[in-house]
């Protein structure tokens, strides 16, 4: 892998490499949120909270416990999943926007906790994290995550996630323990967030509580909804678009966020179900390879 990174840095300049690393990390994170919110339909607006748990845990494991990189990553992801379990419990009783509020509150509490967390350097942040995350590491993990995501969503568990989103009562009548699966979906989402957080920490080598604020959670939510809720290619596309957009909008300098905000509104007006939200491979095949001739207005 080192050879591959060395080769890449020969041919691709650091700026593009950096953007592609960020895209990889964001894909892992967004796919996590996609499972919780896109597939299972449990609106989570505190994804950055899980990310920060993963980032801090992994960083501290690396710095203070001297764990190898993979160990720290796994540790961070597991810790995040543990909190996902804790946060999933209130879903026993709450739904919709109350749940959204709980997740916002949770993420804020985590942020405030890290602002007061002595070993994390408080507001100054935690620096000196060893740099382990490289392009090939990120994309190797991202590809594994994508493959496992596809497998999961096509399995019995994945189908019941979708079923819960579509109709909870009917799902229960089909023998699905919705409570348990909702908690599971929170845990899976949090696990991936923690994993992404760990990668992020070992890439930036510096993390601070401000990195994981409310707007960060919103960014991930944007990626999932913009791409198309519950669709893996959609989420990936949404992530790519929304990670690139700010970079491409750099030319408009301080008007950048103005464009970004307007872009969200316009995209939602023209593609309310997200870019790929209602696109299936099956339909593409049917449309593009069907022999029957259709008129335009049919």
């Amino acid at each position: 892998m080192n050879i591959m990174d060395a080769l890449l840095s020969q041919y691709i300049d650091a700026y593009y490499l950096h953007i592609m690393v960020l895209i990889g990390i964001n894909i892992i994170l967004a796919l996590g949120l996609n499972i919780t919110t896109g597939v299972t339909g449990q609106l989570s607006m505190g994804h950055a909270g899980f990310m920060s748990i993963g980032a801090y845990t992994a960083a501290i494991l690396s710095i203070h416990m001297g764990l190898p990189f993979w160990g720290s990553l796994l540790g961070g992801a597991t810790a995040a999943a543990g909190f996902g379990f804790l946060l999933g419990l209130p879903t026993l009783r709450l739904e919709g926007d109350y749940l959204a509020m709980i997740t916002i509150g949770f993420a804020e509490i985590i942020r405030v906790f890290f602002l007061n967390f002595e070993p994390g350097g408080k507001a100054l942040g935690l620096s000196g994290i060893p740099e382990h995350t490289t392009f090939s590491v990120v994309w190797m993990i991202a590809i594994v995550v994508i493959v496992l995501n596809v497998k999961l969503l096509h399995s019995r568990i994945g189908r019941s996630f979708y079923a819960i989103r579509e109709n909870e009562i009917a799902a229960e009548a089909a023998g699905i323990n919705t409570t348990r699966l909702k908690v599971l979906s929170f845990m899976v989402g949090a696990f991936l967030a923690g994993l992404g957080g760990g990668l992020y920490a070992h890439y930036m080598t510096y993390i601070a509580p401000q990195d994981f604020g409310f707007m960060k959670s919103i960014e991930f939510l944007n990626m999932v909804v913009l791409g198309g809720m519950g669709s893996i290619p959609g989420t990936i596309l949404g992530t790519v678009v929304l990670t690139l957009a700010p970079e491409m909008l750099r030319i408009v300098a301080e008007y950048r966020l103005l464009f970004y905000g307007a872009m969200l509104v316009i995209l939602m007006i023209f593609r309310p179900n997200g870019l790929l939200g209602d696109v299936r491979w099956y339909d593409i095949k049917k449309r593009w390879f069907s022999k029957e001739v259709k008129t335009w207005e049919s």
């Binding site: 650091a14 408080k122 100054l124 942040g125 596309l237 790519v240 300098a253």
Partner: protein, 397 residues
């Protein structure tokens, strides 16, 4: 539009987007190795690090103005070693991953020889690491906490270090003013503040003062009623506030509303024209802070700077504009001393900088490559203007 047409349109759009990404990636990658600027042309570039939007833009925007002005002046006077200078200004929003992208972009795309900024320590650390790896000089105009120049020999800063200034001020408060009971308010989500608070507290304890109240606020909040009510009942002689000027002014406003007398002492983060504009009568002679830069009783260099800045922007400069301005001139000086615009060469000159008479005080880069700025000015506000209260020499040992 039929659904089919719409659908195809969407697909085509997606494809175009994907293509543009890969086209971008594949494009200009040829001359990465060519780090030497002389070969590529006359213009040398300096990268600006700072936020132009977002909640810390207050510190980036004046910095950018200072830097722009310095570059304009230099170009009008023949540039650096006959090269014209160009500033590159990208907005990092005060965000970690943004600054990391920007630093890489500056180095690889814009091929800057040096970066100026960022005002925040944490962000400077991120950019510093990238600068070090790519052998580009970074000169921070604001990072005051430890862990910056330790990154490597390409990383510098020109700020008044808290560890020198704060003890001098505490000494002044206890021994000259006779204040013994201190209240300390920290801005919890500001690295500058959480770094400065312990420096003050250690100095207070070392000088035999008492801390009667420790409290905190967050940036961007406006409601400090609860903290001020506590302060009112705490019986402190003076309030030490380690945050930035906006919140300081709002705290003093609330003090005035709650009808009691309290002096606020703080660090150079309080140096901003907004302090007086926001606080008005509430801060008048009630706020004292230390700083390396003073617009009152200016040195010759400072006077010229003040005049030019007021003429150009029609507003008062603050510490950040002064330090960014200085940083550009320091870079000019060391490049000329080294007779080279190659960062590998002029970084050695920068490490030897002695007694540079900048507008933000005299700067010397010490043997540990940390800046020493002297003297420290104690500044207060009189008639809505910054007025110098006292000059304290800094004891470096």
């Amino acid at each position: 539009m039929s659904s089919k047409l719409k659908f195809r349109l969407a697909l085509v759009l997606c494809c175009v987007m994907m293509m543009s990404i890969f086209a971008g990636c594949g494009g200009e990658k040829s001359d990465v190795d060519d780090q030497s600027i002389q070969a590529s042309g006359e213009v040398i570039k300096l990268g600006f690090l700072g936020a132009l939007t977002g909640s810390v833009a207050n510190y980036g925007i004046p910095g950018k103005k200072g830097m722009e002005m310095a570059i304009e002046e230099i170009n009008a006077n023949g540039g650096i070693l006959r090269h014209q200078v160009e500033g590159v200004y990208d907005d990092n929003k005060g965000d970690n991953s943004e600054i990391s992208a920007i630093a890489r972009k500056y180095i690889t795309r814009d091929k800057v020889v040096a970066m100026v900024g960022d005002p925040c320590t944490g962000l400077t650390q991120v950019a510093g690491k990238i600068a070090q790896e790519n052998e580009v000089v970074i000169l921070s105009a604001g990072a005051t906490s430890p862990g910056v120049v330790e990154i490597g020999d390409y990383v510098f800063r020109n700020t008044l270090l808290d560890k020198f200034a704060a003890p001098a001020v505490v000494d002044w408060m206890i021994n000259d003013k006779g204040w013994t009971d201190f209240a300390v308010i920290t801005c919890m989500d500001l690295g500058y503040s959480t770094g400065l608070t312990p420096v003050f507290e250690e100095a207070i304890e070392a000088n035999g003062g008492n801390i009667v109240l420790e409290d905190s606020i967050n940036q961007g909040e406006t409601d400090f009623t609860a903290q001020v009510t506590k302060l009112k009942n705490a019986g402190a002689d003076v309030l030490v506030f380690t945050g930035y000027y906006t919140e300081a002014a709002l705290i003093m406003n609330e003090v005035q509303k709650q009808n009691f007398d309290m002096v606020l002492v703080g660090g150079d983060g309080l140096y901003g024209p907004d302090l007086a504009a926001l606080g008005q009568s509430a801060v008048e002679e009630k706020v004292i802070f230390y700083c390396g830069f003073s617009s009152d009783q200016p040195s010759d260099e400072t006077a010229a700077f003040l005049e030019a800045y007021r003429a150009k922007y029609n507003e008062e400069p603050d510490m950040f504009s002064a330090q960014y301005y200085d940083a550009v001139y320091i870079l000019k000086k060391v490049m000329e001393d080294a007779n080279s615009v190659d960062p590998k060469v002029f970084k050695n000159e920068l490490a030897k900088l002695t007694d540079y008479p900048g507008v933000s005080g005299n700067t010397t880069i010490g043997p540990d490559r940390e800046p020493i700025k002297s003297p420290v000015c104690l500044i207060t506000i009189k008639d809505g203007q910054f007025a110098i209260l006292e000059k304290i020499p800094v004891n470096v040992e």
